[in-house]
């Protein structure tokens, strides 16, 4: 200490005080603004801050009910939340401290978290902030994070699209875990190519559930889903590991059975499957009853394999089963013809 220290505020000239705290307000004991920092003067622009009553320019939001200098004095040292009474109602936080006797109070304000709005509303620059203020860093971070968030949102959108595409290209029916139509087509093409190369023949059974729609309609979709899961279970049990079981529509299934088999054994298999379909299925205390119809084709019936042709022939055999009173299994023969009222609905 050199002995020249003083307890007077005047030891810090207003200009220096303004650089240290660009948003300070010196409030006189009468409640009028004596001096203010340059940024606050810029903010208040037309309202000519100097000489106005502090509490008529700023409204204290927290603590509430501060309307006199005595009340302001009482909240000295506490965190204040205030706004400009005039538009754009800029928000501040700050601190009031009492000065020496007869000198009033010193209030220092900052924008807090609303700094981005304040910068926009008042066109502030780097020079409007104290060198020690992290406001500009906060703005930088705000902007950098926005850029990063945009990139992440873009990434999410692309990943979602990729997932949707992957699902579309997936080979499994999500409900039953059976192969889907796409997987069936691939397997059928492979089997047909193998058969053409003098490999083993194969057979295809096209199954369509009967009365499934009424289970769905009367007992609800959960019951319908349960039935489909049970059907899948039965089909897996009745086939061998290297056979293909596919769900190709709401209640349509196709089996590809590898290896040569005669028509009688295929019909017996189809009937056994249908018989198991007809066993009552319990779901949450309700009994679901369905049946099924089958159309059968054998690769040995074709000179050259044609998967599309086989599928439509199996379809034709299936309609014949439906036409003959359902719960039937029909082997395709060239003399089966499509009737005019071809589609039997269930």
């Amino acid at each position: 200490m050199d002995g020249t220290t003083t307890d007077q505020l005047t030891m810090v000239p207003p200009e220096a005080l303004g650089r240290l705290m660009p948003m300070y307000v010196w409030v006189s004991p009468t409640g009028h603004v004596r001096e203010a920092g340059p940024t606050l003067l810029k903010l208040c622009g037309d309202c000519a801050l100097i000489g106005r009553r502090f509490l008529e320019t700023f409204e204290l939001i927290r603590p509430r009910g501060v309307t006199t200098m005595a009340e302001l004095g009482a909240v000295a040292g506490r965190r204040l939340h205030a706004t400009l009474r005039e538009p754009p109602h800029t928000a501040f936080r700050g601190l009031a401290v009492p000065l020496g006797p007869g000198q009033g109070m010193l209030v220092n304000l900052s924008f807090g978290i609303a700094v981005a709005e304040a910068v926009r509303d008042h066109d502030l620059t780097d020079a409007d902030f104290a060198v020690t203020d992290l406001a500009v860093e906060l703005l930088y971070l705000h902007e950098a994070k926005s850029a990063v968030m945009d990139e992440l949102n873009g990434l999410n959108t692309r990943l979602q699209a990729a997932r949707a595409a992957a699902e579309e290209h997936a080979l499994t029916d999500p409900l039953t875990g059976l192969a889907n139509r796409r997987a069936l087509e691939m397997a059928l093409t492979r089997a047909a190519e193998a058969a053409d190369r003098d490999g083993p023949g194969f057979a295809m059974i096209h199954l369509d559930l009967d009365y499934f729609k009424s289970v769905n309609d009367t007992l609800g979709h959960a019951a319908g889903d349960h039935v489909l899961t049970q059907v899948a279970h039965i089909l897996r049990e009745e086939t061998r590991r290297h056979d293909i079981v596919a769900r190709v529509g709401g209640d349509e299934f196709v089996l590809i059975l590898r290896g040569s088999a005669d028509a009688d054994r295929l019909v017996a298999l189809a009937r056994r499957i249908i018989a198991r379909f007809e066993e009552p299925m319990e779901f949450e205390g309700q009994t679901c009853r369905i049946s099924g119809s089958a159309g059968i084709v054998l690769s040995s019936g074709y000179e050259r394999q044609n998967p599309d042709r086989m599928l439509s022939d199996a379809d034709l055999a299936l309609y014949a089963s439906k036409r003959n009173g359902r719960a039937q299994a029909t082997v395709y023969t060239p003399d089966l013809v499509l009737p005019d009222d071809h589609r039997t609905q269930d």
Binding site: V119, Y140, L152, G154, L155
Partner: protein, 196 residues
Amino acid sequence: MHGLMNRAIQCFLRDTYGAEVWLTVAEQAGIEPEGFEAMMVYPDAITESLLCAASRQLSKPREALLEDIGIWLVSVERLRRLMRFGGVDYHDFIDTLEELPGRAQLAVPDIGLPAIRVIPHSQGRFTLVCQGDREGFGQVLAGVLRAMADDYGALALIDHVGATSRGETIEVELLEARFAEGRAFSLAMPVAAGGL
């Protein structure tokens, strides 16, 4: 290397030379045509083969290519704005360059920018040392420094003088901080600032 940097190279090639050139370079470098995700990290070798393929395809030395990438970076308004937060004028910008990697890391913690040392000399001369373990950042930085000088309206000489064991060295001579009218910059974020 961070996806942001790989994607920057991708966008630079696409914006400067066209989509065809990007596709050719990507194919030569064994990269999918859709390129990089900005928010993922890729092995360094991919970036290396990308730069090699681009340099070959464009018949441009690697150093010149990297510097062009630096210049291009500043043409991305979003990045230009983030750079301008670095200082009120070009002198200030150079002075605070040491903070740049830290700032970038605040936003993207795994971005992996090399440390930058700023050694001020008298009369507006600076030596910058880019202390990365991968050579090439210095050339990109030289490009950024050139473009930022224009942005601030400053007249400066920038010279990438080479690499030593300490890192890559760039000499900057600031002849006039306010040589021309710089580009406008306001702290307030514009409503629609585009991404990469």
